[in-house]
Symmetry: C2
Subunit: 380 residues, 2 copies
């Protein structure tokens, strides 16, 4: 759908996407990963949008990572065939997963549980189509996965060896990289992420098992990885949009952030230095990911309608449909006058969470015209 | 749509709604407000569902409050005619508001800004249909509104006196009641909320202006108000579902909470006492509203599949599609064994935020069968 609506004509709040920034973010990540060797398996959980995926990968469907079977189903409906479902599998999802495989999708699933492996081995029939498994490895104590040297890795591979859910490799996610406080720390985390999964793959091979897939991924480690020897693929998602959390750890610049929420000033409490807008937590999400960073950005960093940050103006608090803008210092004297009706753009803490509040992107390409509108889906 | 799916057959995560609890919550609030005199103007922003509204009000469309024009449009499409748009109006929404009025809706809007009043006075033509205004009063310093004695109240009324946006009264929202730490404090807040708006209405009448509508509202103050003399209507929304924030301030019991998220165990980190489920922040929302309460419930309180709370089990952390359940003490020895595949139900911190992550309610009525499915809408 093409369009030529001007920003000032838009209903607010609404989600804006700058196409040129997505293109540049994608090009930077693509060329960096290509220079290191592995393939890039885009995580589509951030954008949940066919058009954004095409902007990153080109028109031909490439390999993707999904966080829900709904994402797999949506993308398979548009010809995407090489899909990794990156969340530990629960057997109650087996029928949907097998339906995807039956429709022609090369779906891989992830698990780290001997119990789940046993259940799958008991549920799957030899005639079921192939549903290859990656064993999840814990590289940083952040969330899920088995430690690289855990004997359960080989136990799971053996349990599934003669089933349609044969193990074909390992995967890990350095989610701890979001808490890094320096580029050096991220580089070290990228090396640790690689080492964990390469070690686990080696132990699988030494036990006579397949480990042809060795998968790592997080936007920070993908951005700063220097050597991915032994790794076959990198998963990353939030780099397509970036956000204040990523800027806060030095993974992008503020000006690389491609999504923002357009809001309108609806009132003031001038003696407190507050300007109220019609973008509250429903428009921004409740994500406060910068709260634990050195620079707390509240519910988002405020820019003028052209997207230029307004020095130290943040959304300090939010209710469902109200955002409260104030100067970071709290000093009313430092608040610029933003009359009612003024439009502002707010950069989000966490692109995945903010974008999830919307069913469409209004796409800009440098100017103040909406060039087109792209849908996004949600749910499970 | 009727249904007879059992809980164990449901894909997870999914949003469950217990019809009997909604019915009881609604009956309690309805009879309390009726005993005090004012009418109850249900806030539909929590449920965003026609069926939930009917469960509260009966089949005949009653007076409602909305937080977005989208809500007004959705409900007007089902015959709701008496609608208050409860967020300070921005003139860029005028065309949509007038279209609603032209379609037969008796729409009232809210504002607290002399500038907005001037803009409306300049934009509205004498032939435009009536769009009555309530002036927003600040009763607790929480968010927006004019102080009860502010001369701008009369200034706004005079600015709009001869326009289709004539002032017809005042409204306030005691959002500060969410931070109360005792029932006595909530009772005092309810009295303060009433006094603020009754005082503002009196000053309007003394100046010869209309103040036939005197509107208050928040679920805590509505629940504990003892005397609403001078108030004509009460707005409240979250009471239909209740949540952990409301339970934490004593406005409901845990067993009154009518919504929960059904999730499935996908893995363990047993040495840490962690059980992982497929309900992360996308399923629960990022709302951490109990973090500042005496009892922090993490991302939600964990119940068994029948809805019985499991002593001191909470979702301590969440990523997009992973929730981490642990014992409140952090002690791994106190974690019950929840094998992979086990279903749990998680009660939310904030019903409005959690429900907003879904496009439907799976409705239970006492048993483990889904009786029906109700849609909910979102967006602006």
């Amino acid at each position: 759908m093409t369009d030529s609506t001007r920003l000032y004509e838009l209903d607010t709040p609404t989600l804006l996407l700058e196409r040129g920034k997505v293109r540049a973010n994608a090009e930077r990540m693509r060329s960096h990963i290509a220079s290191l060797g592995p393939q890039l398996r885009l995580h589509v959980k951030t954008a949940k949008s066919l058009e954004v995926t095409k902007l990153v990968q080109g028109e031909a469907p490439g390999p993707i990572t999904v966080s829900t079977l709904k994402e797999a189903e949506e993308f398979s409906g548009h010809g995407y065939r090489d899909i990794l479902y990156g969340v530990a599998f629960a057997p109650n999802k087996l029928a949907r997963a097998l339906a995807l495989v039956a429709s022609g999708v090369k779906l891989k699933i992830v698990l780290d549980s001997v119990d789940t492996a046993k259940t799958l081995a008991s549920l799957l029939k030899p005639t079921d189509p192939s549903l290859p498994v990656l064993i999840e490895i814990d590289c940083d104590g952040h969330r899920s996965g088995l430690k690289p040297g855990d004997p359960k890795i080989i136990e799971i591979a053996n349990l599934l060896a003669s089933t349609p859910a044969k193990v074909c490799g390992v995967m890990t996610h350095a989610g701890g990289s979001y808490d890094c406080r320096s580029i050096d720390a991220i580089r070290a985390m990228a090396a640790k992420e690689r080492d964990a999964v390469v070690m686990a793959a080696t132990s699988l091979r030494n036990a006579g098992c397949d480990a042809s897939v060795v998968s790592v991924g997080s936007t920070p480690t993908a951005t700063y990885a220097e050597d991915l020897t032994g790794v076959t693929e990198v998963r990353a998602g939030v780099f397509v949009f970036f956000d204040l959390v990523m800027a806060g750890i030095g993974v992008c610049r503020i000006e690389d952030i491609a999504v923002s929420v357009l809001g309108t000033v609806i009132g003031h409490q001038r003696e407190k230095g507050w300007t109220l807008i019609d973008a509250g937590w429903m428009a921004m999400s409740r994500d406060r990911g910068t709260a634990k960073q050195p620079m707390d950005q509240g519910y988002g960093l405020v820019c003028d309608v052209a997207g230029r940050p307004m020095a130290d103006l943040i959304v300090v608090d939010a209710s469902q449909e109200h955002g409260i803008i104030a100067h970071r210092s709290g000093d009313p004297a430092r608040m610029p006058d933003l009359p009612t009706g003024t439009q502002v753009r707010v950069l989000p803490n966490h692109a995945c969470a903010t974008a999830a509040q919307y069913d469409r992107y209004r796409v800009l390409d440098g100017g103040d015209r909406v060039e087109t509108t792209w849908t996004r889906f949600s749910g499970w």
